[in-house]
């Protein structure tokens, strides 16, 4: 287990190294801090002096080492746009994104496990076929389109029925179908402050209503994948000899499904799924854009729009760190759940 841990840690450091080199290369080639600091009017000789003073004329790797040393202190310089340390800008936007990802993850876990397991246990039931059909449609809808449709349906509302809407049945049907003026669709509303830069949508009912549509949109991208993955793995496990043997022992089907089979199903699901949850951060860029959710994704897109290179670089480093941490955690959880890891030192 110790060897396993060290190996994972080494891998994580390696990945962070690669990311930092890329991030530094971007900063080195695209960002010109002098331009930002002093503007156009300063003569070239003064700029050159400043450049020398800041060490911008040093060799690439010397500059990289300086960058890396600062990065370990979470010091990535100042944002051009906000005129404050980039880490502070990110920290301000981080809670919104993490809450969104967290809410979406809860939705995914709560829905995909029962649906996936059900459609594996009863593959021929019409409900399973229905779930499979919906999931392949779900895979085919881009996340921003789901978001737009949700806004149209639940925030703007539809009051469209093929019946005349004047009186009687038509009006009644229209009233039934209409969802006009339902959910809030833009921004975070008024989140409750917790501490520091952290304020939460989970503390009030109103805050939660702001979270509903963005979280559903974000979850919709991974939910079908998870359902299909869980179903496929479970179907395979149910064919296995050990499930057959458990039946021959006279164990109840419930115990076979939910202990014998589910535990084995979840092993590959944890590895694949854990990584996918990490990548939800990437999809927040799209969801946050549609819902004007004031998180890191929206901030990142804005930074691209305004060529705020230090902020872009910081975002890449922070997101890289989030990915690395989730991946390492996933491996740890896998190691804890899977008894075969302890001896061999690597997943079997």
């Amino acid at each position: 287990m110790i060897a396993f841990l060290i190996k994972r840690l080494f891998h994580a450091l390696l990945v962070m190294f690669v990311i930092s080199v890329i991030a530094f290369a971007i900063q080195d080639n695209l960002g010109d801090p002098i331009q930002q600091m002093v503007g156009q009017s300063v003569p070239e000789s003064e700029r050159e002096a400043l450049r020398e003073e800041l060490g911008l004329n040093d060799p690439f790797f010397v500059q990289y080492l300086r960058f890396a040393a600062n990065a370990t202190q979470f010091d990535f310089g100042y944002s051009y746009v906000y005129n404050e340390p980039t880490t502070e800008v990110i920290l301000r936007h981080l809670p919104a994104t993490l809450e969104l990802v967290f809410a979406a993850t809860l939705l995914i876990i709560a829905l995909s496990v029962p649906i996936g397991v059900y459609s594996a246990i009863k593959p021929r039931a019409w409900l399973s076929r229905f779930f499979m059909g919906v999931s392949i449609i779900g895979i085919s809808i881009p996340v921003f389109l789901t978001a737009i449709v949700l806004i149209q349906l639940f925030a703007i509302g539809v009051s469209f029925t093929p019946f005349p809407a004047d009186t009687g049945w038509g009006a009644w049907l229209n009233g039934l179908v209409s969802t006009e003026g339902g959910m809030p669709a833009y921004g975070r509303g008024d989140p409750v402050h917790v501490f520091g830069t952290w304020s939460t949508n989970f503390a009030s009912l109103e805050g939660l209503t702001y979270l509903v549509l963005p979280a559903i949109s974000l979850a919709s991208i991974m939910l079908p994948l998870f359902i299909r993955l869980i179903r496929a793995e479970m179907l395979e496990v149910l064919q296995s000899e050990y499930v057959k043997f458990a039946r021959a022992k006279g164990i109840s089907m419930r115990r076979i499904y939910f202990l014998h089979a589910l535990k084995n199903t979840m092993l590959p699901v944890i590895t694949v799924g854990g990584v996918q949850i990490g990548t939800l951060v990437a999809y927040t860029i799209l969801t946050e854009t549609v819902f004007q959710w004031p998180g890191m994704g929206l901030m990142f897109l804005d930074a691209i729009e305004r060529s705020d290179i230090p902020l872009i670089v910081t975002y890449l480093m922070i997101v890289g760190l989030i990915f690395v941490i989730t991946n390492t955690l996933v491996d740890l959880v896998y190691g804890l759940v899977n008894p075969t890891v302890k001896l061999t030192g690597k997943p079997a």
Binding site: Q239, S240, E241, Y242, K244, F245, A246, R247, A248, K249, G250, I251, S252, M253, R255, L259, H260, K263, N264, L267, V337, N338, P339, T340, L343, A348
Partner: protein, 340 residues
């Protein structure tokens, strides 16, 4: 009445192209404490027969007809819940590949205790104590330690011992062992087989041993069935069949044993291969491979191609073969002629 009575068992697999008949008209019985061998090539239906006894055939397989009576209880019509009381409790099973049979993510102890608890109202502590005793019976070194270990920490031979211990947990009446030693190293095979035999004798447990190894059958069992293409073609006391096989197929099997060949010569093998169950030949399923489908004088025995042979008695054995039936008729005529 026998402990287990199987009559005219029919098992089919519902495939898109139509039903495939995996077992046809299988009849046999087993007395308390008796050991029965079921022999045949792979695909003959041995395993299907074993699994259908407890209705454990994988879908799309199903029991299409016949009866299985165990200790006065008819098993074929039972619901899964009712069958569960028999499975692992009064009839338990040992599977072929010990590497695949135990759940990799549950400890040995969990897998033993759950079996006890499924059938008896006992505390975990008691269940653990019984499990330990059974592990001692199958002669596993340091059994206490094994309870907390996971399958991947144990060798194949150890795992098969544990599976035998699980099969014995609830002191069953019958153990069905489906090729219990095929997947093991040759050196361990004999050990495991000896252990199984010893335990069955000691506790008076009936054994249905499925195997293609005629040597094992002759050492372990008292009676045997020979199966071919989903049918029983010969059955009777093991010793009689091994010493004097009647059915051409059984003769072929025994002739194919390495010890039957002259050293330096090729092994004797049965020509051709077993037909697929979906494309069975008409009449006797063995006739395309049978050297006796043509009589010695060169004339064809047309019944072999058109009619499924019925069982005829030969000594204590029963044989389904037209050739045997014809020879018996001829003998009877001869005897009658001599007498007259």
């Amino acid at each position: 009445m026998a402990l287990l009575d199987v009559n005219h068992l029919d098992v089919r697999f519902a495939l898109r192209q139509g039903d495939v008949k995996a077992l046809r008209d299988v009849c046999f019985s087993l007395d308390r404490g008796e050991r029965l061998g079921i022999v045949g090539e792979s695909g003959a239906g041995k395993s299907v027969a074993a699994f259908s006894l407890l209705n454990l055939i994988a879908k799309p397989g199903y029991i299409a007809g016949g009866s299985i009576t165990f200790d006065g209880l008819e098993l074929t019509g039972l619901s899964d819940r009712q069958l569960r009381k028999v499975r692992g409790h009064r009839i338990s099973m040992i599977f072929q590949d010990p590497m695949m049979t135990l759940n990799p993510v549950l400890s040995i102890g969990e897998q033993m205790v759950e079996c006890l608890k499924a059938h008896r109202r006992i505390s975990s502590r008691e269940a653990r104590a019984i499990s330990l005793r059974k592990l001692e019976q199958v002669q596993i070194p340091s059994p206490e330690k094994r309870l907390d270990q996971y399958p991947h920490e144990l060798s194949g031979g150890m795992r098969q011992r544990i599976i035998i211990a699980i099969a014995l947990l609830l002191d069953p009446d019958i153990i069905i062992a489906d090729e219990p030693t095929t997947a093991l190293d040759v050196t361990i095979q004999a050990e495991i087989m000896a252990l199984l035999l010893e335990l069955c004798e000691k506790h008076n447990v009936g054994l249905i041993l499925i195997t293609h190894d005629l040597g094992v059958v002759s050492q372990v069992t008292q009676r045997m069935l020979v199966m071919y293409a989903g049918r029983v073609i010969e059955q009777g006391p093991t010793r009689e069949i091994i010493n004097d096989p009647q059915h051409p197929y059984t003769q072929g099997l025994i002739n194919a044993l390495p010890q039957m060949a002259t050293p330096g010569e090729r092994l004797n093998q049965i020509r051709g291969s077993m037909p697929s169950l979906s494309q069975l030949p008409s009449g006797c399923p063995f006739h395309p491979r049978c050297d006796f489908a043509t009589r010695q004088d060169g004339s064809e025995r047309s019944r072999c191609k058109t009619e499924v042979p019925a069982f005829v008695s030969s000594g204590n054995c029963q044989v389904a073969c037209h050739m045997v039936a014809e020879m018996q008729d001829a003998e009877r005529i001869e005897v009658r002629e001599e007498n007259s």
